[in-house]
Symmetry: C2
Subunit: 213 residues, 2 copies
């Protein structure tokens, strides 16, 4: 399997969004040309990008929306929901938890805050917990990702606690540059910024290695 340009992966996310839109509109057949138009790239590019991973269409016919969508979700690791906790339940943490599409990608399994007064409050059916519960929660509830929405001055300390707890990835929304082990830093967390392409993906392990672009 050839090396995949990392730009190709980003475009896959765009194609997926388009396919989901087509499916919602009840359209079940498409072509590289149509995808290209919507994604503002060339049809050559669409076909090449897909070809890095396999062949999902039918010559002379095109692509079945549902099938291609399923394949892309599989490639991008979005065919399942990931367990997530949010640390820091200020306005930002709350806004993120409410973001549309959020629950399609993540299953919210814990809310944490340093402030004891917040601990009585409930959000999206979960009670905010003390930071002391964090290590146990990560271990026991299959929490794979931690989303940091704390002030800059505590971001590094909280990140360290997440790493100690054995978290798989950190989505950093705190206004700080973190020093964390490379495997744990999640790039491309774009829901919220710019745009609506749900730009979070966890590349399927099968393809992850080739993608150090």
């Amino acid at each position: 399997m050839a090396k995949v340009p990392s730009a190709a992966i980003s475009r896959l996310v765009t194609y997926l969004r388009i396919l989901e839109d087509l499916e919602a509109r009840g359209i079940n057949r498409t072509s590289s040309e149509q995808l290209a138009e919507e994604a503002q790239v060339t049809a050559f590019q669409v076909r090449k990008d897909l070809s890095y991973f396999g062949s999902y269409g039918t010559r002379g016919v095109g692509y079945t929306v549902q099938i291609l969508r399923r394949e892309l979700r599989q490639i991008l690791g979005l065919n399942r929901r990931w367990g997530l906790c949010i640390v820091g339940m200020g306005r930002l943490g709350q806004a993120i938890a409410d973001y549309p599409g959020f629950s399609e990608i993540f299953e919210l399994k814990g809310l944490f805050d340093r402030d004891p007064s917040k601990i009585t409050t409930t959000f999206r059916g979960l009670q905010v917990e003390s930071m002391d519960n964090l290590p146990r929660a990560v271990a026991e509830r299959r929490i794979e990702f931690g989303l940091l929405a704390v002030p800059a001055d505590s971001a590094q300390a909280v990140a360290d606690r997440l790493v100690e707890s054995g978290i798989k990835g950190i989505l950093n929304f705190a206004p700080a540059v973190l020093e964390v082990p490379k495997e744990v830093a999640v790039e491309n967390v774009d829901f919220l910024a710019g745009l609506s392409r749900l730009s979070f993906f966890v590349l399927n392990p099968k393809w992850r290695e080739e993608m150090i672009g």
Copy 2:
């Protein structure tokens, strides 16, 4: 002037952040090697990236932090603050307005919300206004950018009103794909997501044309 890879521009933003950090630490001389190490690229790359825009160092010596910083801010259009209004003052709008570093880039010149009950409230010294004031505010207060933090279902309508009002750019934080004239869509709005690299820039008009990468 040669064509500039758009990836180079993104790296400029990184170099700028590093220079600001160096300056804060009282360091006033640096080298392509040091910048490269911090930015996790090669020294060749740093020098090449800078060379697209000019020569800002001294051979045999290196770069003066202050000078290079000023030049990069100039290139990236961050040597001035831009007038901005926020439309939608829910939790997201509020969290964004409070984001550290926000006021270094933007001068907040208007807060708008559809909800009449919000109109009595004050935020960062500005009273929230009715949407009816929008066109006049944009025209009279030199508001160059509009930041959209409204629900998905009203995002397009609000974007249209911003465009009609003669806004120069729209920073879209609403969970919707907008159809707006190309000149008005702002890419690379990254404060908030991922990183802490302040990833907003308005390329200096002198260089903007070459940079359709």
